[in-house]
Structures are given as structure tokens and as C-alpha cells.
Symmetry: C2
Subunit: 227 residues, 2 copies
């Protein structure tokens, strides 16, 4: 069944028919391969991205080239910051990358901006979306400042396992380090420690979760429901 | 001269006269002493806070009781999260405290919400405000992850000196540690190190900046203009 834009935008019915036509005329459906950079900081202004299927990751990059994942976007999530050029006040660069093959609606920035400036419903929806992402980032900040890295790593593995719906994760230590904003060596050391404790198994390019319950305990206080 | 609400709200002229009357009827002017907690997380829903004079600090508190300053609010800044009860999607608790004697307008949450839901101008303004605070927090996250504590401490002292317009800061090590989300011992060690290097002088309850230029260099990359 073809995904239709009106089902994906909660404010659709509050738009005038002229506004609906503008959005319908401008929206583009795109399918990208895993690894594709959908949006690259302030160099781009891709516009709104509305996930139909697959998974996107939004992250920031430090001057030294280290990454930190801010949040992930899955089915029906909307990425606001790929349209950061139309949001006054946004001063950071976010990179949005497809973690797997991803299909999404793309609403060009200019069209969305026009409607947002006219419609309180669209603007309030945008607000709510930003508040949710803001909460994600404040949560992350709290994690980084106040939780130990072992809990964060355990929480990451549990989350990853839920996202992939599998106990066997094909992910490199380098990649996990990027997610958590740490050095690869530190992550490898901790993974080896979890392995010694029997929580996980390690083989080339794969991490197997052996004791999910104990891993969740380990993550306790650090694990948040959902992405 | 009496501060008037219309000069403080950039969207004032875009309101209907009915909306202007609602805000005028509801707004309260408050004067609080240094140390007053103006808003305390989800227990409160104080509403919008619009600073006339003085300084407020917005921070989060971890389970273990450690603080981290998210941002400060000075003249004409508006605090959104003291009205977090009306923002769908906000899932964190912010505490707002007066750092010095502070006078502010307080617009009750319900009144603001009503107008925000009707007016795209108000909603877009709220959006922009949230985007600015979001940028502050992402910047902080980047600092914490990617800058060394010595740069962050130097940046903090420079910022504090600008805010106070003085090279002599009356602030305890404990307080700095709370701002930066670190242990007091770590901060004291670093301050002693700065002192040994001749950047600052330390005396009871006071930190004197001796070499502002070198302190700014130390903060380089870590120092952001403004608050």
C-alpha cells in the first residue's frame, strides 16, 4: 500500500485546502541506502524528513571529528533539524544518516516554512516535536554527566537489540564508541569486561547478548523506554 | 521608568486586542531575592518568566542530587520551561533559581497556552526561543564530551567575569562544581593549578582573574559569545 502524506501529518486536517495543495505539490518520496547522509549540517537545507520505513540517526560532530548520536528516527518520526535553515535560533549542525535502507517523505524547507508562519496548528506541532527532541538531548546530557559508562554501554546494547529485534548485533566497537562519544579502546575494554562476566559473547564483527536480563539490570536507571 | 509588557514581547503587535487584554490582565510583576527558586520542575507550572532585571539560572538535577547549569537568563530573556506543563513533549525537570535579586514578568501558563494555540506568531516565537535553548544545550553537550575540563573551567570563569563585569568573583568552588557538573575536589585541584600558573589568584571566598587574556586563550574553542 502506498504511504500517503495526509496520514503522516497530524495537523493535516487543520490545513486549508490551499495549504494541503502546496504540501502535496512539493513533497517528494525518497529511498536511500544504508550509510547515505541525508542531511549534512548547515551546508544543507534538505527540509522536513518524515520516515516511512527504515531508520535514521541524527548526530553531531565535534571539531576533532568525534560523533555523538542525539537520537534515532524510525517509522513516522519527523526530523526537524534537517530543515534547521528555517528555524531561527538553531546554531548547531546536525548530520542525519540512514542506518539501514530508509524510505521517507521530504517536504522542502521553504514550503513548510510558509505554512508554519500562517498556521498555529503547524507551528504548535513543530514546537511539540522540538520539545521531544530537546528532552532526548537533556536526557543524554544527564546520562553522560551522571551515569557511569558501563550503564550507558549496557543501555545502548539493550536498545540496539530492541531496534534490531535480535540478540546478535552486527556492530563494530568503533561504531559503538561513536554513538557514546568515547574512545574505541575504552569501549573494547568494557565489552571485554561484559564478556568476561558472561553478559555478552564477542566474535568477529558481532556481539551476542547472552544474558539480556542481567544486561538490563546493568543498564538500570540508564535505560529509557523507546528511542 | 516602569517596564511595560508590550515592549518585552516581540509578537505584541501581531496579537488581537482581545489577546493583548488577556495577557495584560493576567501578567504579574514579581521581585525575588537572590537564591529564590522561581520554578521547581514538574511540581510547578509557574508559566512564562520574562526577566526585567537581575539574573536567573536554569539547571537540571540528577538522581544523586548533582546540578548542571543549562543556561542563564538575563535582561529580556524569556524562560519557557517554567511553563513546561503547557509544552507537550517536555519530559525533563528544570529548576529556575534567581542568582541575584531579580524582577520579572510572570505570564500564567494557561493564558499563554490559549494564545499560543490561536496565534501562529506566538507559536513561532515560542519555537524560536526553544531552538535557542536547544542550541545552548547541544553546545553544552559538545563541551562536556569533547572539551577538557580545564577549558570548560576557564570558559566558565571568563563568562562569570563578563556577567559580573568584574575580575573579582565571589563564588565558591562548590558552586562552580555544580555549574560544571563535577566534583568539588576536582574543581579545587584545577583552580589551584590555574593559580600556580598565575592565571588567577585565590583567597577566601574569592577568585581574582589576574591574566584575563591567557584565561581566554585557555578557554579557546570552549568559549562561546554571550550566555
Amino acid at each position: 500500500m502506498e504511504a500517503a502524506l495526509d496520514e503522516y501529518l497530524p495537523f493535516w486536517k487543520q490545513l486549508s485546502s490551499a495549504q494541503q495543495r502546496v504540501l502535496q505539490a512539493q513533497v517528494v518520496k525518497r529511498l536511500v541506502k544504508a550509510g547515505t547522509v541525508v542531511h549534512n549540517g548547515s551546508m544543507d537545507c534538505v527540509g522536513l524528513v518524515l520516515v516511512i520505513s527504515g531508520r535514521l540517526r541524527a548526530y553531531i560532530l565535534s571539531d576533532e571529528g568525534r560523533e555523538i548520536t542525539l537520537y534515532r528516527l524510525i517509522n513516522r518520526d519527523m526530523c526537524l533539524f534537517s530543515a534547521s535553515c528555517i528555524m531561527n535560533g538553531i546554531e548547531f549542525d546536525i548530520i542525519v544518516e540512514a542506518e539501514e535502507e530508509t524510505e521517507f517523505f521530504n517536504i522542502p524547507a521553504a514550503g513548510y516554512k510558509e505554512i508554519m508562519q500562517e498556521s498555529a496548528a503547524v507551528s504548535n506541532y513543530t514546537n511539540q516535536l522540538m520539545a521531544t527532541r530537546f528532552s532526548d538531548v537533556v536526557w543524554l546530557l544527564d546520562q553522560i554527566l551522571h551515569k557511569k559508562l558501563d550503564s550507558r554501554l549496557a543501555a545502548f546494547l539493550v536498545e540496539e537489540s530492541e531496534l534490531e529485534d535480535s540478540l546478535n548485533l552486527r556492530i563494530t566497537h568503533e561504531r559503538i564508541a561513536q554513538h557514546l562519544g568515547n574512545a574505541r579502546e575504552v569501549i573494547t575494554r568494557l565489552l571485554n569486561y561484559f564478556c568476561d562476566e558472561g553478559l555478552i559473547g564477542l566474535s568477529r564483527g558481532e556481539i551476542s547478548i547472552i544474558e539480556p536480563k542481567r544486561l538490563i539490570e546493568r543498564a538500570s536507571g540508564s535505560l529509557r523506554q523507546g528511542v
